[in-house]
């Protein structure tokens, strides 16, 4: 099962991913979040605004 990267359109395969798993797009490097497994759906994963700081 594959899904297009929502940022660059590259094909991304679901090889045992988990719901809510964060993965980088192998083509464009964008952080993506697995929103659903069936059907397989990806969305860009925006960086959380909470900064625990350093």
């Amino acid at each position: 099962m594959t899904e297009d990267c929502p940022v660059c359109g590259a094909d991304i395969a679901n090889n045992g991913l988990l719901t809510n798993e964060l993965i980088p797009c192998p083509d464009c490097g964008s952080d993506l979040e697995v929103i659903a497994l069936s059907p397989f759906k990806l969305e860009p994963a925006p960086e959380e605004k909470e900064d625990w700081g350093e």
């Binding site: 988990l18 809510n20 798993e21 964060l22 952080d31 994963a45 960086e47 959380e48 909470e50 900064d51 625990w52 700081g53 350093e54």
Partner: protein
């Protein structure tokens, strides 16, 4: 009124009032104890309120709290001697300041002054501080947001990738700036030989090597400084965080290659205050006598082994060296950090998915084992 209502707003507050610390534990106003698995961002390598540091502060405070660095002072001299004695061979001078970012600012100016060049090269995912010079070397766009046009021009190479670095270091490069192990960027350890190769490339191109040991230094990764793992001597080494045992003090340690900086070319009013230096001497003595470098190596191996043995399906990778460890999850780390805090374990995130552990190096085996068990329970939900 809550502290968060008084503070500028830049600090992400936890809403917990910490009133006491001892060793690797801190307590809130209600008496709840936390295992400080972040050493308060790597500041408390010798533990909270280390008795030797407390005693040194008391004794120095009765004699002299502050005098300008224009005057000699025994505590300051002893700190510089001790710091040089544990630094890589060939480091010969020290500039004292108050924080890691200040030490990086000094390093940048010294590199510009020494080489006459203006080019800087850093690594993607790097964190070197948030003041304008050090922020220029910090890669994360979220830290740089809003400062466009105010930062120094810096070229960024992929970390631990010599081909990427070779492509951008040139005759205009004043310095290559690197963390020996990236911390804020997700705890990334470079392959063996990388730092030696970077040193050779810098020598070949006439560029300086500045290493940021603010987080990795002072026994954290199993050596006194992480760069010693590869036997490399940098031109400038930035040190901070736990140098003062909890008091603010930092240093740019200079190699013999740097010579003597021009008088008046830089300065710091409070840098090298006798009080902070006395605390620093006590902290360094404790690190050396208690062999915190070896302790970090042994306990870090135990901690990493415990995390790896969990073989938890939510864990993507465990990485690090000594007691600088990143636990990368497949999902967002935030909820698990909050759950750990609720269970009395204060850790630090880095990026969206990594939980960073930088415990005080005085942590016990029992505390590490308890932490591993709690982490497993929290991941199990």
């Amino acid at each position: 009124m809550l502290e968060a209502e008084l503070e500028s707003g830049v600090i992400a507050k936890r809403g917990i009032d910490i009133v006491r610390g001892e060793g690797c534990h801190i307590w809130d106003a209600d008496g709840k104890m936390y295992l400080d698995m972040g050493a308060s961002y790597g500041v408390c390598n010798v533990g909270h309120c280390n008795p030797r540091v407390v005693r040194a502060i008391e004794e120095q405070a009765k004699k002299l709290i502050y005098v300008s660095s224009s005057y000699d002072n025994g505590s300051r001299k002893e700190l510089m001697e001790r710091l040089l004695s544990v630094s890589p061979p060939g480091m010969s001078r020290v500039f004292l300041c108050n924080s890691g970012t200040e030490s990086m600012e000094a390093a940048i100016k010294f590199a510009f002054g020494k080489t006459g060049r203006r080019g800087l090269v850093a690594a993607k995912r790097a964190f070197h501080g948030r003041s304008l010079g050090s922020l220029s070397l910090t890669f994360n766009p979220s830290h740089r947001q809003g400062m466009e046009g105010c930062l120094l021009p810096v070229k960024f190479a992929n970390f631990a990738d010599m081909d990427s670095l070779r492509g951008i270091v040139d005759e205009e490069t004043a310095a290559v700036v690197l963390e020996p192990i990236q911390g804020e960027g997700g705890v990334h350890v470079p392959p063996e030989g990388y730092l030696r190769d970077v040193r050779n490339l810098c020598d070949e191109m006439g560029a300086l090597l500045i290493v940021d040991e603010v987080q990795t230094g002072l026994c954290r990764t199993g050596d006194f400084f992480a760069i010693q793992h590869e036997g490399v001597t940098p031109d400038v080494m930035c040190v901070g965080k736990s140098l003062g045992g909890g008091l603010p003090i930092a240093a740019a340690v200079l190699g013999e290659t740097m010579g003597q900086m021009e008088k008046g070319s830089h300065g710091s009013t409070f840098g090298g205050s006798p009080l902070a230096c006395a605390a620093g001497v006590a902290a360094l003595e404790f690190m050396e006598e208690e062999r915190l470098d070896l302790r970090a190596m042994e306990l870090g191996a135990r901690f990493m082994e415990g995390l790896l043995e969990m073989e938890h399906p939510l864990v993507r990778e465990v990485r690090g060296r000594g007691l600088m460890i990143g636990l990368e999850l497949k999902v967002r780390a935030g909820p698990y950090l909050s759950a750990l805090l609720e269970r009395g374990i204060a850790a630090i995130p880095t990026g969206a998915t990594v939980i960073r552990f930088l415990p005080p190096l005085v942590i016990s085996e029992e505390d590490i084992d308890d932490a591993v068990q709690t982490i497993g329970e929290v991941l199990n939900g």
